[in-house]
């Protein structure tokens, strides 16, 4: 389970302090596919980076599976990160390493035995259907294939949580669908909790169970997508989810 409590985070910019996250609390249950949607600059990527402490919050708690990451020593934190996979909008693969070496990378960092590594790499490439590309370099792959390598790499260390930062924003619609299918599959098959940051409604609609809407560093809406949406608390929530609205329900503004 991921539980963030009262997270504050600000950055120093040329124009003074910028409050990226204002008292954000969020609870994500095990096995969920949780979406965080909002426009750019809303703070959603920062929020995602707080979950593995790539961004250390100014205040608040980051509880992952019952451990408050903020209190861990550097060494324990690095260890903990190995059980939290992450994929990125621009894939961020090592360009001078082959596909197999890229997937092997997290295992190398964790100092796994060579024989174990080879076995696991083969398994992960199998999951994303890229076994035949194992000796290729990232440059020769399409965007969708690169993201599948990203997914395989994130899966290699058997994470319980997968953080996705705009995973399909650099991909065309058809490839997007394909990547989302993979995410859904690994959520079902391995019970991995997935957090997806996105600005695309299709992503939320296709794979998320729950979604939080962010604006100006705050979460302004929380929806459980298994239930019909009956009311909005924000304009942006209405803007994004209007078409999902149960039309018979009366719209109720509680701003």
């Amino acid at each position: 389970m991921i539980e963030l409590k009262n997270i504050q985070k600000s950055f120093d910019t040329k124009d003074g302090k910028f409050q990226a996250l204002k008292d954000v609390s969020i609870k994500i249950q095990e096995g969920e596919i949780f979406g965080i949607i909002g426009f750019s600059g809303a703070g959603k990527s920062t929020l995602l980076r707080v979950m593995n402490l790539l961004e250390r919050p100014d205040s608040g708690e980051v509880n992952i599976n019952g451990k408050n990451l903020c209190f861990l020593s550097r060494k324990d934190l690095l260890k903990e990160r190995q059980s939290i996979g992450m994929i990125f909008q621009n894939f961020n693969l090592l360009s001078n390493k082959t596909i197999a070496e890229n997937v092997e990378f997290p295992l190398k960092l964790a100092r796994e035995k060579k024989s174990e590594r080879i076995k696991r790499v083969a398994e992960c490439l199998e999951i994303v259907g890229l076994t035949n590309k194992k000796d290729a370099y990232p440059v020769s792959l399409s965007g969708g294939q690169r993201q599948r390598v990203g997914i395989a790499r994130a899966l290699a260390s058997n994470p319980k949580i997968l953080l996705c930062d705009e995973p399909t924003s650099a991909l065309d619609p058809r490839t997007t669908e394909n990547i989302l299918e993979f995410l859904k599959k690994i959520n079902k098959q391995f019970g991995i909790t997935i957090v997806v940051v996105t600005h695309e409604m299709e992503v939320v609609e296709q794979i998320c169970n729950k979604v939080a809407v962010m604006e100006n560093g705050e979460i302004v809406e929380n929806f459980d997508l298994k239930e019909p949406i009956t009311e909005f608390h924000s304009e942006i929530g209405e803007y994004l989810f209007k078409h999902l609205l149960n039309l018979e329900a009366k719209v109720d503004y509680v701003i």
């Binding site: 690095l78 693969l93 360009s95 390493k97």
Partner: protein, 221 residues
């Protein structure tokens, strides 16, 4: 003309040997000291996670100051230091000290620039996997920048070849010194041209090997 050249051929070979000796030793020192120095500059630069203000100002300033010295001046200015390190300020080995001091900051600066080209997203990805600083440097920065670093080594080797010509001033010898002695002091134009030809060919060969290495190492294209 040919006989003139044949007469000095053994001397040319000795001079070439001295040049390679100076090049090899200095390049070794430049890589061993310059790479970590460039890496530190990159890691503690303003805006980086490991930014160290004072240390950066000191190292950055030092690098700039040494790079401002023309090699000839540096060679003479640090004679006491050279004597302290290798026991003498004269001879091929003695030249390696000023050569190294001259080239280390240049090498470090170029390494820093090369590392700045590494996609920070890849560094972030490694951090998200729990990589420690050493692992990030070794597996990410150096791996991603390896073609760039090979390029830096090529550039520095060629600069070094030109620096070694000044080495004659303190009895360092080498092919450049040979060209000056025969061509300039003794007016043996044919021998000078021959030596210059050798230097041109040397530069071509170094550049060719460098380019080829870069191409093999770079998987981005």
């Amino acid at each position: 003309m040919l006989s003139n050249i044949l007469n000095v051929l053994p001397e040319i070979l000795t001079a070439l040997g001295q040049t390679f000796y100076m090049l090899g030793e200095t390049l070794f020192v430049a890589i061993v000291v310059g790479t970590p120095l460039g890496t530190i500059l990159y890691l503690i630069r303003p805006g980086a996670t490991h930014h160290k203000k004072v240390l950066y100002i000191v190292l950055d300033g030092l690098v700039n100051i040494i790079r401002s010295f023309p090699f000839l001046i540096l060679l003479i200015a640090i004679i006491p230091f050279t004597r302290f390190v290798v026991g003498t300020a004269i001879g091929t080995t003695a030249v390696i000290v000023p050569l190294s001091i001259c080239v280390i900051p240049e090498f470090a600066r170029l390494v820093e620039q090369t590392l700045l080209d590494v996609n920070t997203g890849v560094v972030e990805a490694a951090e998200s996997m729990g990589a420690n600083l050493f692992q990030i440097i070794w597996y990410v920065l150096y791996s991603e920048a390896r073609a760039g670093i090979a390029n830096v080594i090529t550039i520095i080797t060629i600069s070094l070849l030109s620096y070694t010509t000044v080495a004659g001033l303190v009895g360092g010898g080498g092919i450049g010194d040979f060209a000056i002695r025969y061509g300039y002091y003794r007016y043996k134009i044919d021998i000078m041209f021959f030596t210059v030809l050798i230097i041109i060919i040397l530069v071509q060969i170094i550049q060719m090997i460098g380019n080829r290495t870069v191409r093999v190492l770079d998987k981005k294209k």
